[in-house]
Structures are given as structure tokens and as C-alpha cells.
Amino acid sequence: MAQPKMVAIDDEVEFTKTIDSFFGNRGYEVHVALTGISGLELIEYHKPDVVLVDLKLPGMDGDQILQQIRKHHPEIKVIVITAYNDGGKTRDRLLALGAFAHFDKPVSSLRDLAEAVKRALAQPSTSQPQP
């Protein structure tokens, strides 16, 4: 299998840097963006296998990016990052909208994120997203 490709979009610079080095250290080709618009450009350009996107972004937000990807690149798995800690309400909504998984700061663990990314890569791109 070729080197898996990932695009991470989050306006929290320190978080984006952590994702970059963490997945970079594990054999991924990681491209990071701090805004939704530049994130979409990276997606169009690199055609990643998986996208990590923060829900709350200046300009275009995670919801809109999720919609765009579902529409134009349904094969790309989207993992939405939030910082709500709201007991799963947001997660259920996002999964219903077609997100592959949900990472909630600071509740979720990086290990779980790594697992989710692995699962995303292992799943055939044509299959329906799992709740």
C-alpha cells in the first residue's frame, strides 16, 4: 500500500503541529491547513485518504467542509475534531451527516484517533459510513 495521505485542518496551530508530527512519525504523508478554504485546496490537490477537520473554523467551518467532501469526494473519510465535551450530542449529529469518526478535545485520546484513522484506511472506500 502506498504511503497513506492525510489533510488536517485546525486553526489551533499547536494542535495541528502535534497531528503533523504524530502521524508523520507513523508513516503518513500529512498536509496541514489553518483555515477551511486552504484546507479544501489541499484536499483538491492531494486527494488524501483521510481528512481531519476542526468543526469550528474561521470562514468556512467543519460542517461545510464535510458537506463539500461528501458531495465531491465521497471516498475520502472525514474525521471531525471538536472541543465541546457535550456528551455526544455533536458527535451523533456529525456521524449522521456522514463523518467517519469524531475526535473531541480534550476527552478523546490520540491513540483512539490513530485507531480511527487506521480503520478508515482499512475500510473499502465505497462502503457507507458507519454510525
Partner: protein, 552 residues
């Protein structure tokens, strides 16, 4: 007389009557002994004892206000003046008329009498004025006192100020050694010393069942405390020693005794008499009403403060999403960095790294963690400062710009989440204003939050501040739905709201306006339905900086 002594409740009357009674009895019975002479019985001690009657009456007049001696003295003086005037006129006028005009004595006498009769009324009036003014100045002052007191006291809504003014005005105008006020404390159910002049630092409290209190409550009558009334030693001792009081006046509102006004000894050493009470009794009535008003006002202010606090907490509830996000984000970063390091170590990714590299990586994690911890701490601090109830508002010079920034930190995240842009336009070098900092924050906070709630995202809120003719003007403009003309009239009413249930208690603008006005500011609003609303605040600007002032 004996019956009066037996039945009366008024200690003053009881004393007066019993002195007269015993004086009369002893005086007359010894006088009667003179008649024994008819029967050739000698009663040599009788005559001196007769004088006891006069002495007793005199004692009752002077000490217990049996008769209004002042009226007697006054009338005597006026009468003497009038007689003197008439005699003088009659002695001089006819003589001159005879001497210079050759008018016959009899005619001159009649002319003189006519002049006396014509000017009699005028002279009498001026004599009354003169005696009132110079010899009975107290009475004259009293009229002034009642007027001055009513004017001053009725205007005071601040209870503490009202009480202070009362004891000070009374002490000074009636020329007393001191005066004190006890007010009923509903929690302790006692009458507590709340203001005093001349007995500072004393702790006095009277129980509800204390004899003085029950007496005042039931009779509505004043009580003399100058040691001539047989109240239990405890009351007499406490009042006269601690507060040096001579007269206790009840403060009644309907049947409730809300307080006791205690007056000290007069500087002139005179006892309190009927004419004192003529003024002091209505004064006590006025005072009782004024005190009740001030107490109600104080309670209302407290209720309002509590409502404001509730509103604030409700607001924080609606804010929690934004604030939660602002705290979760830094925590998420710290957690991710730490986990990444540990997972790298577990997965063998760190093997072969130089200690220099490892040190640099861990140091970097620490730096990031510290920065993010500070970020989260700042938010919690601002939040808890904002949530704290404002106990004693203190006016200080504040920078509007700084307060706007503080508020935008709290609401900004929420607005950003909702796709509402906030544009700040502050005139450079904006003068400071005088206000309570946290109350000002509360006002700005409410207005910005309302603006946000009026907007159907996306939209914009402008926060502008500039000077305009000695005022600092703040405008908060939104691109929201606007307020209809009909609703514009009602927006400051308590509990008026157009927000859906759960979004607002309706107290927001009601409280905002009160706070603005309490900080000597003004609030205004303009709105166009469908375009948006502008709320404006105006506060007097603090006069130019000290250097500029000095240069003038």
C-alpha cells in the same frame, strides 16, 4: 383628683395631680386649724404649713409643667409692654398738644386716647413678634426646624443618610446634648441603635417586650426618661446612662412601632414641655414615614441586585458553549502533546534520538503546555470575576476601551461560533469615565449579547466609542432584525422579552438601564425593523489628564 391619680396612664399627669392633691390636702387642712381659734384652741404651726400649698403648686408648675408657664410669662411681658406704651403716650402727647398747639387739656386727653387706641393693634402684634423672637427663640426655631426637617428628610432615600441627618439636625436645632435612633430589626426582633449623636460607639438594643417599648407601642405617647418616671431601673439606667436620653418618642407606622427616637438633655437644662411635643410629635410621624420609605427602597435595591445576579447567571448559562470551547481547546492541545510523546516512546519512535533532541522535544512540550494552561486560566478568571455578585459598587475612573475588550473576550467566542463578526471602532485617546468597572462590564456584556441574539447569522456587530461634547459615547450596532416601534417603548420594562422561552428572563435591559443611570450615564436606542438596532450609552468624560489641567 384621687380618681385621676388612680386611673391615669400618663406619668406626667399623675405626678402633676398627685403633687397638687397632696399640697392642697396638707395646705388646706393646716389652714383649717386657724378656725380652731373660735373654739379657743391654739394651733401655732398652722400658718407656716399653709404655704406648703403654694410651694407644691409652684413645684408642679416648674418641674412637671402643671401650667404652661411660658405662656404666662409671655402674656405678662406683652401686657406690660402695652400698658407701658399707653401710659407713656398718655403722659407725653396731651402735654405737648397743650404746650405747642394750645389745645385744651380735655381735648388733648381725648386725642391722646384716640392715638393709643388706633395704634394698639399694631403695637401688640409687634410685641408678640419681639417676645417670640428674642425671649422665646426656641419656639421660633422650632417652626423652622419642622420645615427644614421635613424638607431634608423627605428627600433622603438612603436610609443611613436619613438617620444621620435626623440625629444631627435634631441635636443642633433643638440644642441637645445628643440624640439617638433605635430601629426595629426584623431578624433579631429587637430595637437596635442605628444612629446617634453624642453617644457614639455604644451598643444598645431593646427587646420587643421591654417595658419602655410596650408602653410606647401601646400608648403612642412620648415617655420622659429624666428619672421622674418610675420605669424599671434597667431601662432608666440603660437609656439615661448610655444614651443620656431624656425623652423617648415612638415612631409608628399604623400600629407598628418601627423605632424609637431618643432625645438627650437640652443644653439649656429645661425639661421637655408641651410646646416641644407640639413640634416633635408631628416630626416623629414624618420621620416614621420617611424611615419606612427608605427601608422599602433599600429592600427594593436588594431585590434588584438579586435579580441582576440571577440574570447574569442565566447569561453565563447561554455562554457556556463558547467558554467551554475556549477551555477545551487548550486542554486538548496539552493532552495531545503529552500523549504524542508517550505514544512515540511506546512505539519505539524515540529510539536512537540524541539526548539533545529528546531534551528539546520535552522542553517544547512543557512550553506549549504552560502557555495553554495560562490561556485556560485567563478564561476561568474572567468568568468567575463576571459571575461574582457586585456587593458594593465603587465608582472609579475606567477606560471604556479596556472594558469593551474584557467583555469581547467573554462573548467573542460565542459570537464567532455563531458566525457573527465583531468590529471594534474606538476613537484613539478616548477619555476615561467614572463608573463601577464590573457594572460597566455587565452593561456592555448585556448589550453585545442582545445584539448577537438579534442577528440571524451571518451578521456583524459594531462596537464604537467616541467623545461628543464632554461625553463618552458608546454605540453597539447590530445587523439584526430590529425592534418595532411598539416594542421600543417596552424594552426597558421588567420581564418584557421577545426572546423565545429559556433565552432571556426579560430583566436584561431593565437592569441595564438602572445600572447605567446609577453610574450617571444615559442609555438610548434607535432601531429600524429588518435593518438593525443601535444602543447608545453616554457617560460624562473625566476631565482632561492632570498635565493638561495644570497647563490651563
Amino acid at each position: 383628683m384621687f380618681n385621676v391619680i388612680k386611673t391615669t396612664n400618663l406619668p406626667g399627669l399623675k405626678k402633676q395631680v398627685s403633687i397638687v392633691f397632696w399640697g392642697t390636702l396638707i395646705g388646706f387642712s393646716s389652714g383649717i386649724t386657724n378656725y380652731l381659734a373660735w373654739y379657743r384652741l391654739a394651733a401655732p404651726i398652722a400658718n407656716p404649713i399653709v404655704s406648703f400649698y403654694t410651694t407644691a403648686i409652684a413645684y408642679a408648675v416648674v418641674k412637671h409643667q402643671l401650667m404652661d408657664i411660658e405662656v404666662l410669662v409671655k402674656r405678662t411681658l406683652q401686657f406690660a409692654g402695652l400698658v407701658g406704651f399707653a401710659v407713656l403716650l398718655m403722659a407725653i402727647v396731651p402735654k405737648y398738644l397743650l404746650q405747642f398747639f394750645g389745645i385744651p387739656r380735655a381735648v388733648a386727653d381725648i386725642l391722646g386716647a384716640v392715638i393709643v387706641a388706633a395704634s394698639f393693634g399694631k403695637v401688640r402684634e409687634s410685641l408678640v413678634n419681639v417676645t417670640d423672637r428674642y425671649l422665646f427663640q426656641k419656639k421660633y426655631d422650632y417652626k423652622e426646624l419642622l420645615k427644614k426637617f421635613t424638607d431634608e428628610v423627605m428627600l433622603k432615600v438612603d436610609l443611613k443618610q436619613l438617620l444621620e441627618t435626623t440625629v444631627n439636625t435634631l441635636t443642633e436645632t433643638v440644642k441637645l446634648d445628643g440624640s439617638s435612633l433605635l430601629l426595629f430589626d426584623k431578624d433579631k426582633r429587637t430595637y437596635e441603635l442605628v444612629a446617634t449623636r453624642g453617644a457614639n460607639g455604644q451598643q444598645v438594643s431593646l427587646g420587643e417586650q421591654e417595658q419602655l417599648v410596650t408602653f410606647l407601642r401601646e400608648t403612642h405617647e412620648p415617655v420622659w426618661l429624666d428619672g421622674k418616671v418610675d420605669y424599671p431601673q434597667t431601662i432608666k439606667g440603660q437609656m439615661t446612662l448610655q444614651l443620656k436620653s431624656r425623652l423617648a418618642l415612638p415612631l409608628h407606622v399604623h400600629e407598628d412601632l418601627i423605632g424609637v427616637l431618643l432625645l438627650g438633655k437640652k443644653k439649656s437644662d429645661e425639661a421637655f414641655g408641651k410646646d416641644d411635643l407640639d413640634i416633635l410629635t408631628p416630626l416623629a410621624r414624618t420621620l416614621a414615614i420617611a424611615v419606612t420609605n427608605a427601608q422599602l427602597f433599600e429592600e427594593l435595591a436588594k431585590t434588584q441586585a438579586e435579580a441582576a445576579q440571577k440574570e447574569k447567571l442565566a447569561v453565563i448559562g447561554t455562554l457556556s458553549a463558547g467558554i467551554n470551547h475556549e477551555i477545551c481547546n487548550p486542554l486538548g492541545i496539552v493532552k495531545a502533546q503529552c500523549e504524542a510523546f508517550l505514544l512515540d516512546s511506546e512505539d519505539g519512535i524515540l529510539i536512537g534520538k540524541s539526548s539533545q533532541d529528546l531534551l528539546e522535544r520535552t522542553s517544547n512540550i512543557m512550553r506549549v503546555a504552560l502557555k495553554q494552561i495560562d490561556r485556560a486560566t485567563a478564561i476561568t478568571q474572567k468568568l468567575s470575576n463576571f459571575a461574582k455578585p457586585i456587593k458594593d459598587p465603587t465608582a472609579q475612573t475606567v477606560s471604556i476601551e479596556q472594558e469593551i475588550d474584557e467583555v469581547l473576550i467573554l462573548v467573542g467566542h460565542d459570537l464567532k461560533l455563531e458566525k457573527i463578526e465583531v468590529v471594534k471602532e474606538i476613537e484613539p485617546g478616548l477619555p476615561q469615565i467614572v463608573a463601577d468597572r464590573r457594572q460597566l462590564q455587565e452593561v456592555l456584556f448585556n448589550l453585545v449579547r442582545n445584539a448577537g441574539q438579534a442577528i440571524k447569522p451571518p451578521g456583524t456587530i459594531w462596537v464604537r466609542a467616541r467623545t461628543s461634547s464632554g461625553l463618552v459615547r458608546v454605540e453597539i450596532t447590530d445587523t439584526g432584525s430590529g425592534i418595532s416601534e411598539e416594542n421600543l417603548k417596552k424594552i426597558y420594562n421588567p420581564f418584557f422579552t421577545t426572546k423565545e422561552p429559556g433565552k432571556g428572563t426579560g430583566l436584561g435591559l431593565f437592569i441595564v438601564r438602572q445600572i447605567v443611570e446609577r453610574n450617571k450615564g444615559r442609555i438610548g436606542v434607535e432601531s429600524i425593523v429588518g435593518k438593525g438596532t443601535t444602543f447608545s450609552l453616554e457617560f460624562p468624560a473625566v476631565k482632561a489628564s492632570p498635565q493638561v489641567a495644570a497647563a490651563r
